[in-house]
Structures are given as C-alpha cells and as structure tokens.
Amino acid sequence: MAEGDWQARAKQRTRRINTVVGALFAVGLVSGFLVGFFEDKNAGLVAANSIPPWLAVVSAIVFVVSVSYGSWKLMQVSDELERVVHTKTTVVAGNVMLIGYPTWFMLWKGGLVPEPDALWLFAAGIFSSALAYAWYKYR
C-alpha cells in the first residue's frame, strides 16, 4: 500500500467518526440553545413546566431520534475495539444505576438519606460511563 493510500484511509476513518460526533454535538447545541431561549427565566434549573409544551415534545423527539440513529451510525463507522469499549462502558453505567437506586432506596427507607433522585442517578450513570470509557480506552 502506497504511503498516501493508507494515510488517506486513516483520515477517511477519522472523518467518518468526526462527522457523526459533530452532527450529534450540533443537534445537542441547537436543542440546548432553544431550551435556554424559551425557558422561563424565573423558574429553577430543574423546575417543571418551565418550557413550552411544543418545545418539550420536539426536544424529546429530537433527542430520541438523534441518539438512537447517532448511536447506530457511530457503531457502523467505529472499529470493533471502539464497539467493545462502548458496550463495556454501557454495562458499567447500567450497573451503577441498577445497583445505585435499590441501595439508595434501602438507605432512604431506613431514614438515613434523602429520597432517591432520578437526576443524581442519571448523573452517576453518565459520570461512571465517562470513567469506564477512559479506563477501557486508555489504560
């Protein structure tokens, strides 16, 4: 394989992945901007009824479609190591949430901690998946 050939193929691989990640980032950016633009400025960060219903529905649809399609597309353009890392990462995040909620629930039943909060559990899942990704990818 000539010097230019394999370099072009490697660049093409990187470009394919960057295109998908970039598109997802752009969708997230636009969605975040719209929510911020229409959000009730007097409402709290996680308050209910703080954005118009139409925006809530559109945002939910855009999120589900873009994340579902984007994840599928990303799996298509990634190599098998990346797919394995993503799978392991998802398992770690899922386990954190699946184990985290019942543990928190039992401690709450005992009156030791506040009631389980979905947002914190979701944040723990995201944080653990980021840690797991870094571990499996760069260890």
Partner: protein, 73 residues
C-alpha cells in the same frame, strides 16, 4: 482470565509498517492495533482472519492462547 499472546508487533516491524498503517490495512484504528499488540484486547475471529490473510499466515502462527488449564480433547 486467559491471556492471548501474539506476534503482531514483530510481523509489523519486519514490514516496517507503523501501527497507523497496519490499522488502515485492516480497517481498524491505530489504537486497536496497539491494544492487540500489547495484549489488552483480543481481536474478533473475523479480524484475526484478516490479520492472518494480510501476513499470509495461519491464525495460530500469529496468536498463541498459551492455554494449559486442561485437555483439548
């Protein structure tokens, strides 16, 4: 967990290929080649076959599972 050893780094060096070049020839990332060479990742069977075909060798000439825990039958 069983550890798979391989001769990928030696075979690559014999051809004076970089990890990125070998990755491009196998249609995987440079990181994947590095992970296989360092034993952190065992390739799938299809990728192992692609590697074997690229070097014109049999899979078992490149990969060695060093399995000593029981009978192979």
């Amino acid at each position: 967990m069983e550890e798979m050893k391989n001769r990928l780094k030696v075979l690559r060096a014999e051809r004076d290929w970089s990890q990125a070049e070998l990755g491009a020839r196998l249609d995987v990332s440079r990181q994947a080649v590095n992970a296989i060479e360092t034993g952190k990742y065992d390739p799938s069977l299809p990728l192992a076959f692609r590697i074997a075909r690229l070097f014109d060798m049999h899979i078992e000439e490149i990969f060695d599972d060093e399995f000593t825990g029981g009978s192979h039958g």
